[in-house]
Amino acid sequence: MTVESTAARKPRRSSKRTAAAGAKKAAAEPELVQLLTPEGERVEHPDYDVDLSAEELRGLYRDMVLTRRFDAEATALQRQGELGLWASLLGQEAAQIGSGRALRDDDYVFPTYREHGVAWCRGVDPTNLLGMFRGVNHGGWDPNTNNFHLYTIVIGSQTLHATGYAMGVAKDGADSAVVAYFGDGASSQGDVAEAFTFSAVYNAPVVFFCQNNQWAISEPTEKQMRVPLYQRAQGFGFPGVRVDGNDVLACLAVTKSALERARRGEGPTLVEAFTYRMGAHTTSDDPTKYRADEEREAWEAKDPILRLRAYLENAGHADAAFFEELETESETLGKRVREAVRAMPDPEPMAIFDHIYADGHALVDEERAQFAAYQASFSDGEGN
């Protein structure tokens, strides 16, 4: 077997453009796959391309706008006390929509806690995502309805679940693929390395999609790695590629290519989407304690939504009516989410004892009964 790395062999054409866009970091990232510059200029890449109709392009734009709108609404709901916490995806819309729209229905996704855009692409009702952040459940959707697993909070764990699932797909002789999302910080977890090993050894049809948003709460990527993450794949025997995570077209193209590779039975790929966490880690976090405003400001110039908008407008793929309608749709979505969250009932206390076991457990039955009696002792006014 030989070492493959599509990324390592790339000419540096597209990266020059990134550099030209004024991003200081770009010089250090020569292999960044890009199809759309921060200015919205469509550029070629020797290995990756997408061929999308104007309608499809508008679709991607719409996805990103609505996802951002939803995300902003959730942040607001947290401030209003409706949610206990929110993990914003602000800035990562392209990475999520690009990769999410590369998927087929029969593919399976294992997200972290921040993949609201991917959830959107999978057709998960956004309000369903809010239950766990509101504190009414630990995951409010059926993973099998949209082939979108529950959010995993313990970082890195889900990469193994994805790998196992992909091993099962291969056993079934299906040509579906699996995507495991994770962050730059999570890449340090042993589980992720074990997932790389298992997927390589079993040639599992899985795509490891890392959103390198350059921060893990307060820790910059230098605390996790010494060389760009995508290079790690090669040492495990599969290709790694770094893509401009703020370029929805490149993310779509690169993910699609990795998925096709998986479908062809060629095994795993690591995609590193180079992006930026524009907001706080979560609503509990205060980034002013550890990072400079300038960094964030530099990344504003690379905004994933603005760049696609510029392209749509310049290429005449969308007119003012489209943007206006989308604005209305956004507001409707915001309103719907707001109302749905406010209407979300607290779970019944007895739910503490639900679904601990599928086949029952005597102690749970006993404790449930005791709890019910105890609760009843209050409502009877006989509480002692």
Binding site: G140, P143, H161, G164, G168, G190
Partner: protein
């Protein structure tokens, strides 16, 4: 012929084979479970007959083994995972406790994880460090897991059948020093419930509760006590989560004395839970406090000390005497 006499290791092997024949979704995973048949040969012959697609030699990474087993279960498979020795389960502990145990609840019941984690456990085989531990408490404390241990060939066979059929994750502790103990197995019998304790010897003066490797010691102790005119009842617990407290209570209400025996350290061990709950249930029946016999609060010692460390006949009888002296 449905009735045969065979050792525990072979009974588990037969049970795995049966499960694989019955349900194509059953997989075997672990280190050296393939060609070698496992270091204890519990999976012997399965690789040959079911192939590498169903009997999977994994990379040497326990977290990876359990983590991918979870993924396979999500895809509809029923993985039976082997951890090579008790002391090597801890790299997988996070996946077991945080993912395997909790995913069904996290998904409000929409996900089921029928994964069996087989762990040969306990001492008495003269092994080096990490090969003789009894970590069952560390799993029984965790909601979402079921924890069982057979003490004989018939239970080994049937409990494994039931564990594989169970839609919950089951941690299946195999008493490794009893692997070669033979017992009768009727493969056409109708087994009792997986989590029911079983009275393996009737008695009237005191109840001994044990599970896994210590059942044999307790039976021997009961026989020895018999010679001194003491009638000891022995209950094989079989399941450490859930615990069949009703069965223990019924016995203790008659005998009025209880000694719990296990290899695991006494401190925070299963004996504590049984003592606390049975004392609450049988407060007015007990003539003596529930006594516990088990491992010390010490790392499992080097092999040449294990005879002294392991609770043997004399230590059980000592506790029996102390209880009867109340």
């Amino acid at each position: 012929m449905a009735v045969q006499k065979l050792p525990i290791a072979k009974a588990i092997n037969e049970s795995l084979r049966k499960a694989m024949e019955t349900d194509p979704k059953v997989l075997i995973m672990g280190e050296d479970v393939g060609k070698l048949g496992g270091v204890f040969r519990v999976t012997d012959g399965l690789f040959k007959d079911f192939g590498e697609d169903r009997v999977i030699d994994t990379p040497l990474a326990e977290s990876g083994i359990v983590g991918t087993a979870i993924g396979l279960a999500l895809r509809g498979y029923r993985p039976v995972v082997e951890i090579q020795f008790d002391g090597f389960v801890f790299p997988a502990y996070d996946q077991i406790v945080t993912q395997l145990a909790k995913m069904h609840a996290r998904a409000l019941g929409k996900i089921k994880l029928p994964v069996v984690v087989r762990i040969p456990y306990g001492g008495g085989i003269g092994a080096v460090e990490h090969h003789s531990e009894s970590p069952e408490t560390l799993f029984a404390h965790v909601a979402g897991l079921k924890v069982v241990s057979p003490s004989n060939a018939s239970d080994a066979y049937w409990m494994m059948q039931q564990a594989i059929q169970c839609d919950d994750p089951v941690i299946f502790f195999e008493p490794k020093r009893r692997y070669w103990d033979k017992g009768e197995l009727d493969t056409e019998a109708i087994p009792g419930p997986l989590h029911a304790a079983r009275t393996v010897r009737d008695g009237s003066d005191l109840t001994l509760v044990a599970y896994g490797p210590m059942v044999k010691v307790c039976l021997e102790a009961a026989a020895a006590a018999q010679e001194e005119g003491k009638s000891i009842e022995v209950v094989d617990l079989r399941s450490m989560s859930p615990i069949d407290f009703d069965a223990i209570q019924a016995s203790v209400e008659r005998t009025r004395r209880l000694v719990v025996v296990h290899e695991a350290p006494v401190f925070y061990g299963a004996g504590a839970e049984i003592a606390a709950r049975i004392t609450e249930r049988c407060f007015y029946h007990l003539e003596a406090p529930v006594l516990r016999v088990g491992g010390y609060h010490a790392p499992y010692p080097p092999a040449r000390l294990e005879e002294e460390y392991l609770p043997g006949l004399d230590r059980v009888l000592d506790a029996v005497d102390r209880s009867l002296a109340y």
